[in-house]
């Protein structure tokens, strides 16, 4: 295993490629985002996306945000070689909704809103609320783990270069 600090920088591109693939898959093959077993919901883009284009001498960053975001500029940026570095996602399952922002290089999660829970007034309420919140977090994190596993398997297979990259190029060129 590599030194953690070295590995963080060496492999952060994987996180950007994962988010870029996720956007593509949400648009073009949502079926690939559903596990074979178990019950899972659907995932869509939320209200924010950040893309970054790193060339030899400069880094260009574009942030798109808003409740009904128009992703044309993001698509153009992708066409020019940028990758998604941060994305806000909405996950819906059984009429419940989770919303959060996922950063590609660190996989850190910010502004995570889980489905609404009842009020917490007593110590017993707190214990119930903790268990419920842990369960709700577990649900979304397990789904994210599934997505990442699906991506990394594809990324390390010949199908990435042979099928996925040409399809992605076609989608971006629209």
């Amino acid at each position: 295993m590599l030194d953690i600090a070295v590995a963080y920088n060496r492999y952060k591109f994987i996180g950007y490629e994962f988010l870029s693939w996720l956007w593509f898959a949400m648009e073009q093959s949502p079926g690939s985002l559903v596990p074979d077993a178990g019950e899972y919901g659907s995932i869509t883009i939320g209200n924010r996306m950040v893309l970054e284009n790193v060339t030899k001498d400069k880094t260009e960053s574009i942030t798109i945000k808003g409740d009904d975001i128009n992703l044309d500029a993001a698509l153009l940026s992708l066409k020019n070689g940028a990758l998604v570095t941060e994305i806000n996602l909405v996950y819906k399952f059984n009429e419940q909704e989770w919303q959060f922002t996922l950063k590609g290089e660190s996989f850190s999660i910010t502004n995570l809103k889980t489905p609404q829970r009842g009020p917490v007034d007593t110590l017993e309420d707190t214990e119930g609320a903790v268990l419920e919140k842990a369960y709700l977090l577990e649900q979304i994190l397990q789904y994210l783990d599934f997505l990442y596993k699906a991506f990394i398997k594809l990324r390390l297979s010949p199908a990435w270069k042979e099928t996925l990259v040409p399809e992605l190029k076609k989608w971006v060129s629209g």
């Binding site: 295993m1 590599l2 953690i4 590995a7 963080y8 060496r10 492999y11 952060k12 591109f13 994987i14 996180g15 490629e17 994962f18 870029s20 992708l78 066409k79 020019n80 070689g81 990758l83 590609g104 290089e105 660190s106 996989f107 850190s108 999660i109 910010t110 502004n111 995570l112 809103k113 917490v120 110590l123 707190t126 214990e127 609320a129 903790v130 268990l131 919140k133 842990a134 977090l137 994190l141 783990d145 990442y148 596993k149 990394i152 398997k153 990324r155 390390l156 297979s157 990435w160 270069k161 990259v165 992605l168 190029k169 971006v172």
Partner: protein, 204 residues
């Protein structure tokens, strides 16, 4: 932005290894030995330690107050005294004036000025109460996973250090590389490809 807040931030960790039996007692000992101590009455600028989720300002880990279901729930507290620079400037100027008057000198040496400044900072540190920052964590011992409810760099680093000191277990942050290592379930062929992987030319 604590664990039960409507909106939270989250850093995921893998816990390397498991505690020896009796687990509860070992956690209790680790928490108690490294619990936060109040720094309001001394000259320390910073205090770091564990505190209770339910009562973060009167930390007690008695009974199994840190256990809920199969989880361990407690918090990291970082107390810090921040003296505004203009306050330091004000009291430094007053002390400097007193010293010059008492000594009858027109100037003070660089060393003397430095001593006055340190004295002022020490006095102010004793008078200013520390600002507490509390970061919750949820540890699933069986699953060897831990969620820390912040993304801030400094608290994450303090957590990693204090966790190792308290429980002799290493925390490994989950990011693309470590996620692949621990959760990718790669074959040896896939792993080999992973070690040689470079960025994909998606648009060329």
């Amino acid at each position: 932005m604590g664990f039960l807040s409507a909106s939270t931030s989250l850093t995921r960790y893998r816990v390397e290894g498991k505690l020896e039996n009796p687990v509860m007692e070992n956690i209790y000992t680790g928490l108690r030995r490294n619990a936060i101590s109040d720094i309001d009455d001394n000259a320390a600028e910073k205090g770091i330690g564990w505190t209770a989720f339910h009562d973060p300002f009167v930390p007690t880990f008695e009974g199994s107050s840190f256990t809920i279901g199969t989880y361990f729930l407690f918090s990291l507290r970082i107390d810090k005294k921040t003296i505004p620079s203009k306050v330091i400037q004000k009291y430094y100027a007053i002390e400097l004036y007193k010293k010059l008057k008492a000594s009858g000198k027109e100037f003070l040496s660089r060393g003397e000025k430095k001593m006055i400044k340190e004295h002022v900072i020490n006095l102010l540190t004793l008078r200013i109460p520390a600002t507490p920052n509390i970061y919750d964590l949820l540890w699933n011992h069986e699953a060897e996973s831990l969620w820390f409810f912040t993304n801030l760099k400094n608290p994450c680093e303090e957590l990693e250090t204090l966790f190792l000191t308290s429980f002799h277990l290493k925390l490994i942050r989950l990011f693309p590389y470590t996620m692949t290592e621990f959760q990718g379930e790669l074959s040896s062929e896939e792993y080999d490809t992973f070690t040689r992987l470079s960025p994909s030319k998606l648009m060329e």
